[in-house]
């Protein structure tokens, strides 16, 4: 009797016992697991989409020009004199590169598309990505045209109508920036948009440091003899910011039912555990220590929680990133056509999913373990009394 041994607990059989114990009320366990998974999905979709969207925006803006100059008139934008505009812009101190761009909107088979001229200066850039520049009469198209096959005809309508032959489809990696893009030979773009030879749609300007762009806006505007509108990368970010605000508002709105559902789930679990405290008393009466009881509760909770977290995280991930998933774009941006693939930073996604899992798991696990923790310190008889 004296100095009886404190034996090392064996985890394996306890886990099997925990599983068997859950099977006593299988529907309760299944329903709790499904509720937890649903709460995780609801909590994770927003931050996951937010993170993917931020990544995509960052990637798009990395290569964007520091400033864009457009010639304007009371009737709207006007084509800009390409060579003269480039020369004038390069005369402004701080400007390191100025490139006239030929692009515009045209009507495509399923709605408006962004038509962009791919001139010879971009040949190497395209070659690095694995594409040949389109020749006259050809087009490279974005992921929104995934239904097209090389050789198919693509009808574009703006100032004039032209049918271009699809040469290739840009990969989904080009995401948001190239989603509804049609890259064509400059001569074709001029013809479709009605931009005369020697003119361009706008002038893209790169400065030594993006932070100087705002200060240079006025200098640049004064360098041209025509009225121009100069926009900076920050202006573009501002447009995204309005989307981000909508998105954050949506998050806050989503969070309330998630928190309420989690609270309800946690309280329900705690009540259920408290209702069964006479069983804890019985286990203790049969020689289970407080630690054994607590380990059993932990095993039971984890057997529900771990699959739920995994299923919830996978479902949230699939709902946001599965190719062809349309609802996030429709909800946040009102896209009606095939949505662009979002840029995915797997490390960031894991972090978001881990945060959400912890946000859901910790309160529920606390609620599931607290009654066991309390009961493990109470006299067995006191707990046995509860079932009388």
């Amino acid at each position: 009797m004296r100095g009886f041994r404190r034996e090392t607990p064996r985890i394996g059989p306890l886990w099997i016992w925990a599983m068997r114990d859950l099977q006593r009320k299988p529907f309760d366990a299944l329903l709790t697991g499904l509720c937890l998974a649903t709460v995780i999905v609801a909590a994770a979709v927003g931050p996951l989409f937010s993170q993917a969207f931020s990544n995509t925006v960052e990637r798009v803006l990395v290569d964007a020009p520091s400033l864009v100059v457009r010639k304007v008139s009371p009737g709207g934008w006007q084509p800009i004199e390409a060579a003269e505009a480039s020369k004038l812009a390069l005369g402004v101190p701080g400007v390191v590169e100025a490139r006239a761009r030929l692009w515009g909107n045209a009507a495509g088979p399923d709605g408006p598309v962004t038509l962009f001229a791919a001139d010879a200066s971009a040949r190497e850039e395209f070659a690095a990505l694995g594409y040949d520049l389109p020749s006259q009469g050809e087009a490279l198209v974005g992921p929104a045209f995934a239904d097209f096959r090389p050789g198919d005809g693509l009808t574009l309508v703006s100032a004039t109508t032209k049918i271009l032959q699809v040469k290739g489809i840009l990969s989904a990696d080009h995401a948001l920036s190239g989603h509804d893009l049609v890259l064509a030979h400059p001569a074709d773009v001029r013809a479709i948009l009605g931009v005369p030879e020697g003119m361009a749609s706008d002038l893209a300007v790169w400065v030594f440091h993006d932070g100087e762009a705002e200060a240079m806006r006025a200098d640049l505007a004064q360098a041209f003899p025509w009225p121009v509108r100069v926009t900076t990368k920050a202006d573009t970010l501002g447009r995204y910011a309005s989307v981000l605000e909508r998105r954050d508002g949506f998050h806050a709105w989503m969070l309330l039912p998630v928190v309420l559902a989690l609270a309800l789930l946690s309280i329900g679990t705690m009540r259920d555990q408290l209702r069964r405290r006479s069983e804890i008393g019985l286990l203790k009466a049969l020689g289970w220590s407080g630690g054994d009881v607590l380990r059993l509760h932990l095993a039971k909770s984890l057997l529900i929680l771990l699959p739920s977290c995994s299923i919830g995280a996978i479902m949230a991930y699939v709902l946001v990133f599965y190719p062809g998933i349309e609802w996030p774009g429709t909800w946040w941006f009102g896209w009606t056509s095939r949505p662009p693939a979002l840029s995915l930073d797997s490390q960031g996604a894991w972090l978001v999913l881990l945060e959400v899992a912890a946000f859901v798991a910790l309160p529920w696990l606390t609620a599931a373990l607290l009654p066991g923790l309390w009961a493990s310190t109470v006299d067995a008889e006191e707990l046995l009394h509860d079932s009388r």
Binding site: M1, R2, F4, R6, E7, P9, R10, G12, P13, L14, I16, W17, R20, Q23, R24, K25, E279, L282, L283, K284, A285, L286, G287, W288, S289, G290, D292, R295, S376, T377, V378, D379, A380, E381, L384, S387
Partner: protein
Amino acid sequence: MRVECKKLSFSRILEEGSASLLLDEVSVCFPDGGVSWIQGPNGCGKSTLMHLLAGLLRPVSGEILADGEPVSRWVSSHRDRWRRQVGIVFQQPRLFDGLSVTENVLVPLVPRLKSFEPDLPRVSELLDRLGLASLATRRVERLSGGERQRVGVARALVNRPGLILADEPTAHQDEEGKRLVLSLLEEAGKNGATVVLTSHDGVIPEILGVDLRLRLSDGRLEPLR
């Protein structure tokens, strides 16, 4: 295991707030490796005494010594671990519904099993001896009162405890059931366990060799001849 009560007193608080003295300075030494039988009218405190001996309750005064150790003074967690050496048969079987007969018998062993084996020879032996072998996989809520009580007996004996406390183990049993239960308890006593049982059943001394007969009445425990 040598179990001794020294001036053990216990009161229960009644609903109206007054205290009822159930045990009044009870002193007794249960024979090591023998069978003790406690008789007494309903509500005299037999179950309370069993729960005190099991360390489920703490006395108001006095103490319980197990092999000289003051069990009744220990904290709850210490008594929980000590109870691994105690087999308890409750007056109501207190089984885990939703589990099979075998699984219920296994409960005391689970935290210390090396691997999960429902077909332990000891479990099979007990179920066989108690006439429950054919019911091994049946869920306990589908058993009769007598069968449930016998599952409780098997559960109490499964880890070969040094102290067996059986509160009305023959309740709900037919003659064959009584014989099966009492022969197992007698065998446990012969194998060195200290067996304390309470029962109204006068047939007990006819089946079981009793080493100590006691009567609990008005809070006093007195030997019977």
